[in-house]
């Protein structure tokens, strides 16, 4: 589903190039649950944004279902993104001026879903996440856990093939975090591919596979501890490891 080849990302300021990602090769199969770990500043978020088409790589190739994303224009990319990808952030990032209901509705509006279908989708999702009672509240009136729940709901509502979660439980207490992780596991079982960034081994244990980033290098790949992993994950060679 996702194929990254030699992805490099750097920022240049003056004569200095700061590398954030170096020669990343990564394949993610459909239905996989992948965890990206690494210290702060390692480039995890950057990698996630590139996969989510919110940012471009400086070099390298990115294929999404055989579509060469690196050579598409912004409009086409927005289209693919809008149909396939849902995002969840550490700090929720809901739109403050809109209610829970309207926040859920927004992605559907951009996807140009018809009004009645939109209504029933939002109603279903509110139901499924058990936040019907909160639908007319503004984000500022919700607790962190509830906001993240809404953020996940918003990511899920377009029925994405891929969910990208950047430290989704970072601002939550452990009970709230667990709920979110259970939710991801459930979504993954229903067929959604999930890539998450986390610092917590416990969260990582929900996934099938873990990759580690360090200073922009992809370090090692391991089966997750509890995940009972899929055989082929271990077969993959780690190029950056060899280099290092």
């Amino acid at each position: 589903m996702i194929k990254l080849r030699d992805i490099t990302k750097f920022y240049s300021s003056g004569f200095v190039k700061t590398f954030v990602l170096r020669n990343i090769d990564l394949d993610v199969r459909e239905g996989e649950f992948l965890t990206v770990m690494g210290p702060s500043g390692a480039g995890k978020s950057t990698l996630l944004y590139i996969i989510g088409m919110l940012d471009d790589a400086s070099e390298g190739e990115y294929y999404f279902y055989d579509q060469a994303i690196h050579s598409l224009n912004e409009k086409k990319r927005t289209q693919i993104h809008q149909q396939n990808i849902g995002f969840v952030f550490q700090s929720y990032h809901l739109i403050d001026e809109l209610t829970v209901y309207e926040n859920l509705e927004t992605p559907l509006l951009y996807k140009k879903v018809k009004a009645d279908e939109r209504k029933s989708l939002v109603a279903d999702t509110l139901d499924r996440f058990r936040i019907v009672a909160k639908k007319n509240l503004f984000p500022s009136q919700l607790s962190g856990g509830q906001q993240q729940l809404v953020a996940v709901a918003r990511a899920v509502i377009i029925n994405p093939k891929l969910i990208l979660a950047d430290e989704p439980t970072g601002n939550l207490n452990s009970k709230q975090g667990e709920e979110i992780m259970e939710l991801f596991k459930k979504l993954n079982r229903e067929g959604t591919t999930i890539i998450q960034v986390t610092h917590s081994e416990k969260n990582a244990s929900y996934s099938d596979r873990v990759i580690h980033l360090l200073d922009g290098w992809m370090e090692k790949e391991s089966k997750s501890i509890a995940g009972g992993g899929k055989p082929e994950a271990g077969d993959r060679k780690n190029k950056s490891m060899e280099k290092a």
Binding site: Q79, E97, L98, P107, Y110
Partner: protein
Amino acid sequence: MIKNYLKSAWRGIRGHKGYAFINIAGLAIGMAACLLILLWVRDELSFDTFHDNYGAIYLTVPELEGTKYYANPLALAKAFKQQYPEVRKIARYWQWDALVRNGETAFNEQGGLVDDDFLKIFTFPLLKGTPETVFAARDSIVLTERAARKHFGTRDPIGKSLRINNKTELIVTGIMKDIPANSHLQFDLLGSTKLLGERGETSWSYEANTYALLHQNTDMDEFRKKISGFLNEHDKRTKQKVPLHIQPLAKVHLYALNGTDPIVYVYIFLAIAIAILVIACINFINLATARANTRAKEIGMRKVVGAARADIIKQFLGEAILSSTFALLAALCLVYLFLPSFNRLAGKQLTLDIAGDGSIALILAAIVIFSGLLSGSYPAFLLSSFKPVTVLSKGKSSAAAGGTILRRILVVSQFTATIILIIGTIIMSKQLDFIRKKDIGMNRDHVLSISMSREMRSNYPSFKNEIRRNSDIVNVSAARRLPLNISHMNPVFWEGRGPENYLTMTDASVDYDYFETLGMHMIQGRSFDNKFPTDQENYVLNEEALRMTGLSSPIGKMFSIWEDKGRIIGIVKNFNSRSLHSPIGPVVFTLSQRHGSYEYIFVKIKPRNLSATISYLKRKAAEFAPNSLFEYSFLDEEFNRQYAEDRRSGSIYRYFAILAIFISCLGLFGMASFIADQRTREIGIRKVLGASVRSIIAMISRDFLFLLVIANVIAWPLAYYFMGNLLKSYAYRTSISIWVFTAAGGVALLVAQLTVIFQAIRAARANPVDSLRYE
């Protein structure tokens, strides 16, 4: 989707009431000002357009000594039509102000004597009577509805008679609709040129406006060439060239025959309208981009959930158009509120009829779209270009960095426009003041001018003798014209120059004591004196006339108007006989009334018993002319009336310039408070490190001061150029001195500095702990 945008826009407005208020109020005031000016401009441009033949009507314009006139020889019209097949119809308009009496009631009315085709060329609809028949009889008179009501009340005036100037009985044959305010011809009654008699058909004296209706397919360049020599072909009295021009009706109102075209005011006001709207839009753009930081997160989120760039652009343009729609609603209220005062100021009867007038709706829509797009597009393109990554992962500061340069450019252009307007305001006021105080070569204070009826004319010598006995009356004289409006041209020649080489000068028929009454100074010779019976044929010239003759010792030299030879007895100091828009022309004074009898009595009175003296004069006038109205005015009022338009335009200009300045400051206030807000944290840290309130004010002001200095540097030369051009329209103009510029710069600086200081103090006073506790 739209609902979603509207909701977030509306809640955004509610959440930031201060900014929203500045945005919308500024825009509303700007729009209201713009709308008023556009109404004014539309009215100015609509003059005479209501005539069906608007595009095909032309006025013939003779040029005497380089000056063009609307007055044509009476005999021109008939010959002109006969000679040129291009002319479909022709009609004269001979100004005919008359005392109209119906039994006991009498009123002075503005009127005209016109040819039969007048009502066929122009669209002045008749309510009673037909254009073909109303002037069939010599003694016909046509009234406007207003005049009919005044003289006859509710009775039917048709067939009734009116007594004109206590002399002629005329029969009402038609009633026309009142003349629209946007007609250059204004009258309440029309009579027939047949009343002029024989003279009306044969005289070559310059007296009547002449309107020709031309065939649509006339080649105007060709036609102009053809008619240019017409006057010399027909009027054989002179060898001087008297070219004949032709002027379209469309140009009568907005273009002057000589000097400045009033259309410059249309341009100036349009420029102000646009400037005000742009200044208001700049506020909007500035605050929107300044707030980009706050909005960045929302945009990032919208992009993350699938918004394309176009969606974001649409959203922000939509928001701007929403705001400008709100602003327009507020603006409409303001316009309704201020229209009456504006009408008083502008001397117009403008109305805002949205439902009944399609073009108003169009103007409104244009204003909303113009200001919406103008103020929305930059923020839209800037904000939509944010990468979600940047705004979501990084701190806020980088997001709006792109806006700062542009914001500075906008602030500079805003202040440039404002400073130009301030400079313009000062110079316009200075010029008007200059005119008011200029030594015009006569003393017009406490001089009463009384219009002279026929009846009075015959009793004038005894009237004069009688009233001179009153000790409050200093001097009494009479003349054909007001001294401000001498414009009767006649051919003259003098010793050393034969009649075949005549020049034309303005001649003024005046009574004894004229120069004394009006405080004019003789610089050579003497004024008219009844001790010398020959003075009846003698002449007094003004300096300009003397200059034109080139005589070095003029006193005693032969001088002649037409065939009336006499001697020059005196030279009077130049005085401004026309508006100060035009230079002083040559004038020759004569006691003779052959070229027109006296129409005004001038009475110089002592200021001490003003009202008693006036009622005395009124009483005496009733004694000597019992059947006439006593109508008087003060000469200085007449003088000021000449500049009514200038003063009007001046005060309109001033009000709108002040508005523009206010809107600019509103924007500056918003910007300053925004910057102060934004730097609260930085200011807090600085204070913790020991910065004084003063140094913090200096820090925030420095930026603005720099921008203001740049604005001044740009504004000064531009203002100098614009105002220099405008002043060119006055023959006598005030100087453009450097203090005007420094004053304007100073005012802008002061206002800006006060706003900024106010905000800076607020920020600097805040307790640093409050701002640092968060984050």
